[in-house]
Symmetry: C2
Subunit: 232 residues, 2 copies
């Protein structure tokens, strides 16, 4: 089924495209719906095309050298993914998995390269996206390198929390499971549970349905830099 042009215009790579090109893409692209947990790109896939995320949320997941899962980054609606293989022709470095029901479109390799490199606007969009990913990767490393598990969990919570709609409060919308958090910050599920219990007990965070709301962001920040925690 074709994809409506207004939707295509909402995608970062395509928002500068002239109308005729958009129309052509609209006719030839087709959309795929994926459910939570479904795999969109497999680790090691070579020659895959470029993915465009129309709606939903994806996560990139990879593995340590000893086989344990490591969460790495997220893909939000409007972003594209799978660029690395398109750029350098190497196999995909990680899995891409849906964390929420999503709609994606795949663009074959040759047309993707053409969009990415033939115009300065396309090139700039690609560079901007890669730069964004690198910066996030760096901050994620800064989290991973924190000495204690407690700090890492707090840091990850702080990173996941986004300003909520109404007041200025922070909230983690549909919080990940403890297991998923553990994977992101390289610790055990039990430690995540214990950390969360600690924070709930001190009213630093609170549960609200499937969301987690941050009541005292400043304490969370102190927890990250070590000046606040279980052992005094």
């Amino acid at each position: 089924m074709p994809i409506p042009i207004p939707i295509l215009q909402g995608l970062k790579l395509l928002d500068q495209l002239p109308a005729p090109r958009l129309e052509e893409l609209s006719r030839t692209l087709s959309e795929r719906r994926v459910q939570r947990r479904e795999v969109v790109v497999k680790l090691g896939d070579a020659g895959g095309g470029l993915g465009l995320l129309i709606e939903g949320r994806l996560q990139t997941v990879s593995f340590t050298l000893d086989g344990k899962e490591v969460g790495t980054d997220f893909v939000d609606a409007g972003d594209f993914f799978g660029e690395l293989s398109v750029i350098d022709g190497q196999p995909a470095p990680e899995y891409v998995i849906a964390v929420a029901p999503s709609r994606v479109a795949m663009l074959d390799r040759d047309r993707a390269r053409e969009l990415m490199f033939s115009t300065p606007a396309g090139a700039a969009a690609v560079a901007a996206r890669l730069a964004e990913r690198l910066r996030r990767s760096a901050t994620h490393k800064a989290v991973l390198a924190l000495p204690s598990s407690f700090q890492r969990v707090c840091a990850q919570l702080a990173a996941l929390a986004r300003p909520a709609g109404s007041d200025g409060g922070l909230r983690v919308h549909v919080a990940p499971t403890h297991q998923e958090i553990a994977i992101m910050v390289n610790t055990s599920r039990e430690t995540v549970t214990r950390t969360l219990q600690f924070l709930l007990g001190l009213q630093v965070v609170a549960r609200e349905g499937h969301d987690l709301i941050v009541l005292r962001p400043e304490l969370l920040r102190q927890a990250v830099d070590g000046s606040f925690g279980p052992t005094r």
Copy 2:
């Protein structure tokens, strides 16, 4: 002082450039020599230009949220660095420090953007470089996420070792100090020392001047995936 054209042609961003452009750059660029430990780009610098590494080796260093140093990546001769600020205009996300005596050239922001985006070849070079950095960043994360310090040190050694000239042996040329390794893999200097002692004792690696040679790469690999180590 002007930079000879053959040297400019050895740089990844410039190797496709037509002769007249090269000549102009040769006249206007000037080279700076830096010593080991000298800072080339400061964390937080905004509006900095693009750096070109003519000779030597640089390292990017950043800090955890609680203020500890984290080694992140290396820049080798021919690579450029400081792209992120040029691309997105944000402050530099990390320090860039020389780990060996080096020669660098700085290119101002506007001319860098022109080189990077005005031609498909330039755009492809930039994308390729960013893709390379992202892939390395991902493998570094895979190292950081290993459960035990011992494994992380071994993994880092394996990553640093490159095929040596003569035979097929692996060698770490001018090995980093234990402290530097500790920073890269998020552990303590003492643990690095102990791990290295362990490996030296079992003849897995050996010292040769300032180099470290890997005598038994297969054991090193087993050490990484946990099937070989101090506690059996």
